[in-house]
Symmetry: C2
DNA sequence: CGGAACTTTGACACATATCAAAGTGTGTGG
DNA sequence: CCACACACTTTGATATGTGTCAAAGTTCCG
């Protein structure tokens, strides 16, 4: 895959795997989501030495992986922004999620042999490639890692399923509020501002994710701005009145 | 849990676990979905002897498990019909799927410690209780079982996610066609008629699953009947023109 | 037989999609 | 550096699908 051909920067300054891993993870914003390096004891970290990591750049518009690709690695997003796509049988496709720096990509494929969707960079990005075979071998020896990993994976599945479930019963306004608050929370979690951020996706991509047309997305954003809940200027979003934005989600009692 | 208190019939005629398991599985319609008993070699079956199975009845309207219940067992549906429910934070709930004889229930909880949803019997049913701890121990020793199990689980997740994904972009008519064809396919898979069957769920439950109101479900069924695609009489469904019903799903080209 | 639960159908309201056109921003090549 | 093309966004007018409310019909079961 072209996107993964770039020489890793980390390899230059860190000749052996563990040093590299430490370099990667110490100043890395993957935090608790970085499965192999966090929550391990000294000894376990030694064992982790066997895992070979490397970084890789993905240019805007390039795919990190595609539907049907053999599943070999997980990807930690070090910087940048991705969308996940599902291809429907009839050739159309739908955005199934967004991933930002600090989050893991590729878990959709665990259990199957192949990736079940595409991951496309929405801006020039950098990922940490985590070979799954090595990770699994490691997990055999370190039960805490096994647990951590299973928990992360299932949380991911529950979160995404819950999201999709809810979307089915929500109005367009509720969907937008949910997306904005979700992005806000995640930006905050990884150390960015929770009240101002730039959307990396287009209205069309938001709509695809939320099950709305791009015009509807645009209209609702304008409406939320008109009501003083947010400020919108193209891709820039500022949350002006979080409580009321949360109320949009809260006021559904049937 | 009340629902699981019934004395197992199988235990009476089969004193030891393996004999019981064979009894259960040989005339059981779980087929390839019955994780522990299928695809095992002679030796592996011996190992499987350790797994204690039992059967249990669940009366119409009773819960097999509830949200938050400690996850201890998987359930193979031997006979009957279940709906799965998700409880949304605001107290409302939504049908997330239906399970018929031959299918597995409880996989939603794997990875977490607790069940993430309810399973309610829509008619008097019988399940095969599969203790997960034993299953997992067994899987440690039998790699093929491990694989089989992971594959079954991930297929389940992919199928359900795909379903929910698609629903988001479909019209009411497409949703109904999808549900009818899905049920038809599954009835056929387990040896029942694929062209005539009785729905076990109400219009309201179909609607909850499909993201539609019960009146809409009723109207669409009437419309499909008017067009000669199906015959509807209350809960009875006969598929009259499968090709055209499939076309309802196929004619979505954007 | 009577009541409860479920289903069907109609009239109407409303949210979102569709179609169309103008506006804004961005990158590229001259 | 400008100009042009292209991609994306906004807004309006209108169409359409589904929800809502209401009432009558059906089936089931005590």
């Amino acid at each position: 895959m072209k996107a993964l051909s770039a020489v890793t920067v980390a390899a230059d300054r860190a000749p052996d795997a563990i040093a590299q891993c430490q370099t990667v993870c110490s100043d890395c914003n993957l935090r608790e989501l970085c499965v192999p390096c966090c929550g391990l004891t000294r000894h376990e970290k030694d064992v982790a030495e066997r895992l070979a990591f490397h970084r890789s750049r993905v240019r805007r518009g390039a795919s990190l992986y595609r539907t049907g690709d053999r599943f070999a690695s997980l990807f930690g997003v070090r910087s940048g922004f991705f969308k996940k796509l599902a291809l429907l049988e009839d050739g159309r496709h739908q955005v199934t999620g967004f991933k930002m720096a600090g989050e893991l990509l590729g878990m959709d494929a665990i259990g199957t042999e192949r990736h079940t969707g595409n991951a496309v960079a929405l801006e020039n990005s950098e990922v940490c490639v985590i070979p799954f075979a090595g990770l699994q071998a490691l997990a055999q020896e370190i039960p805490s890692l096994q647990r951590h990993f299973r928990r992360t994976m299932s949380r991911e599945i529950v979160r995404e399923q819950g999201m999709m479930l809810q979307l089915g019963t929500m109005s367009a306004e509720e969907r937008l509020a949910l997306l904005l608050l979700d992005l806000s929370r995640r930006f905050a979690m990884y150390g960015y501002s929770s009240t101002e951020f730039n959307l990396r996706m287009t209205r069309d991509e938001m709509g695809s994710y939320l099950g709305l047309k791009l015009e509807t997305v645009s209209r609702i954003l304008s409406r939320l701005q008109g009501e003083g809940l947010i400020r919108v200027k193209q891709k820039f979003i500022r949350i002006l009145d979080r409580p009321r934005l949360e109320q949009v989600l809260g006021r559904r009692q049937d």
